[in-house]
């Protein structure tokens, strides 16, 4: 079954979408919509450095992504410029530095189109192992840091004051993002990974009453987009990556349309969300009050 390139594309794409959904929610909540772009742009610098020092490309991209995310965290702490300005600054500087470094290496030619759009149809069995193995790991770590990370997303100072350390969760989250971007860029390209981070999460918001619900729905929407996009690309012979993004966009447009029959569904969705969060609260052990 895995011999078929189309099947591999579907399984790989679904793997990326499952991870990108929940991570993308945090990106949206933290107003870091351009974070994915920033990391992707800086990835080119990673590619350049990898070629220059003969390093593993994925590792170099991961390292550069990590440096850029930590830089962003430090600059945000200083809070002289707003986050979007900082992201723009880092994104375009890193891209430009990457291009300049590449230009010095006259003996190298980088396929920029491949870098931007990747090629889901060229996913190998090894890539599948990396996507799913890494994906399980990333989701596992994310669920472990979920509580402090979410608290830090609502407000940074409040958990700090109350003894929940947000810094550790923040650094781990940035590392996860850098890892996901580094692995995905080579396989699915910049455009697809950033789109799979943002669009499904944005689509999920309208149907979600709790953060956990939004993360789940975002993952489902992502999977749906990959499936529909790849089917469409097969049917109409369109490029695979962009077709997935178009499918995701279609889901988003449907989610914002004022459908008359939508109301009861939304209400029941809200109720389920409440019940699940309330029961989750009851399941947890009681804290010790002094």
């Amino acid at each position: 079954m895995l011999d078929d390139f189309f099947t591999r594309a579907v399984i790989g794409g679904i793997g990326v979408a499952l991870v990108a959904g929940p991570l993308g929610c945090f990106i949206i909540w933290r107003r870091l919509a351009y974070f994915g772009d920033t990391l992707s742009h800086s990835a080119l610098l990673g590619v350049a450095l990898a070629l220059l020092f003969e390093l593993n490309v994925t590792f170099a991209v991961f390292a550069i992504s990590l440096v850029v995310s930590m830089l962003l965290m430090l600059l945000q702490r200083r809070a002289t410029l707003s986050s979007d300005a900082l992201l723009g600054l880092l994104a375009h500087s890193a891209l430009a530095v990457g291009l300049v470094v590449l230009a010095f290496m006259t003996w190298v030619r980088v396929d920029l189109m491949g870098f931007l759009f990747g090629d889901v149809l060229a996913i190998t069995s090894f890539d599948l192992a990396v996507i799913w193995g890494g994906g399980v790991l990333v989701l596992g770590v994310l669920s472990r840091i979920w509580h402090p990370l979410f608290a830090a997303t609502v407000n940074y100072e409040l958990p700090t004051a109350e003894g929940v350390q947000p810094d550790v969760a923040n650094v781990i989250f940035m590392t996860l993002m850098a890892a996901v971007i580094a692995v995905s860029i080579k396989i699915v390209g910049v455009l697809l990974i950033t789109a799979l981070l943002i669009i499904p999460a944005a689509t999920a918001r309208r149907f979600s009453a709790s953060p956990e619900m939004m993360a789940t729905i975002a993952a489902i929407v992502g999977v749906l987009s990959v499936w529909l996009g790849l089917l469409g690309s097969l049917e109409w012979d369109t490029p695979a990556g962009p077709s997935i993004v178009v499918a995701a966009l279609g889901c988003f447009v449907l989610s914002v349309l004022p459908v008359p029959g939508m109301r009861p569904g939304l209400k029941s969705a809200l109720k389920t969300g409440d019940r699940s969060s309330a029961s989750a609260a009851q399941d947890r052990p009681h804290s010790s009050h002094h």
């Binding site: 909540w29 608290a151 409040l158 004051a161 109350e162 918001r205 953060p211 969060s277 609260a281």
Partner: protein, 271 residues
């Protein structure tokens, strides 16, 4: 002593936001911080909480101190699906019944399932307070808790804060938006303007005619006036001039103007 600040200060962007602040909060004590905008009230509170590390001086917190913080600015935007109940457990693991008790005490039980982004200003503040109560803190820090709350709501919130103090015997550090009117049960008032300008107890004038004419008889139970006794004034360029042995006691009009501006907290440039 729950927390103790000794000559503490925060230095940012080439200037001292606050400096030389010494204060402490004991269990069961309410300390109110007042001062004009940008005078370093929030900064001082964050220093006491350990959110900001003092660049000078010392901050001591009792080991194992259980803190609740009602932050001044909390932006829950629409993209964040967050119900009131879920928000209550942001840093807690409280049971449903505990949450209901906390919500009832701030009269917000009816909005338990509402989205935080849909709440009005007053509702939002009361939910913040409910969350703070839920943690059963030893030390409760409230940064302008009555913002967006109407006058009667303000009296009710102050009464609630007083009840919490009595019930939990927790220390309370309250930042007030008002320069002259404070909670009547405040034990100590500290006036900040980059440094501690003055401190003392609120005047027991709540029953005076002047107070009643200003705030109405109903307010008398909850509010009190604080009379400032400064021995210096803040000049527009940020310098601080002592008024005890000021050479120009027959001050020209402009100086009177500065003093008035200082009192109302407007047109102030801090050092």
């Amino acid at each position: 002593m729950l927390i103790k600040l000794e000559n503490a200060g925060i230095y940012r962007s080439d200037r001292w936001l606050v400096r030389g602040v010494s204060m402490n909060v004991a269990p069961g004590e309410i300390v109110t911080l007042i001062g004009p905008n940008g005078s370093g009230k929030s900064t001082t509170a964050k220093m006491a909480l350990g959110v900001l590390n003092a660049d000078e001086g010392h901050v001591h917190r009792r080991a194992g101190l259980r803190v609740s913080y009602v932050a001044q600015k909390l932006d829950v935007n629409w993209t964040l699906p967050l119900t009131v109940k879920r928000f209550l457990n942001l840093t807690n693991r409280a049971s449903k019944s505990e949450m209901e008790v906390a919500l009832s005490s701030t009269e917000t039980l009816h909005i338990a399932n509402a989205q935080m982004s849909k709440l009005s200003g007053g509702e939002f503040q009361r939910v913040l307070l409910a969350r703070a109560i839920l943690r059963a803190p030893d030390f409760l820090v409230l940064d302008e808790p009555v913002q967006g709350v109407d006058f009667n709501g303000e009296i009710a919130l102050y009464k609630l804060i007083d009840d919490i103090r009595n019930r939990l015997n927790c220390g309370v550090l309250l930042i007030s938006h008002d320069l002259h009117v404070v909670m009547s049960t405040t034990d100590r008032v500290i006036c900040l303007n980059g440094h501690v300008c003055c401190s003392g107890t609120p005047a027991k004038v709540a029953s005076s005619d002047e107070f009643k004419s200003l705030f109405g008889a109903r307010a008398a139970s909850g509010l009190a006036l604080y009379e400032h006794k400064h021995d210096h004034e803040h000049l527009p360029d940020g310098r601080i001039q002592s008024t005890r042995d000021a050479p120009n006691s027959d001050a020209p009009n402009s100086d009177v103007g500065i003093q008035a501006a200082d009192e109302t907290g407007e047109a102030k440039i801090d050092a």
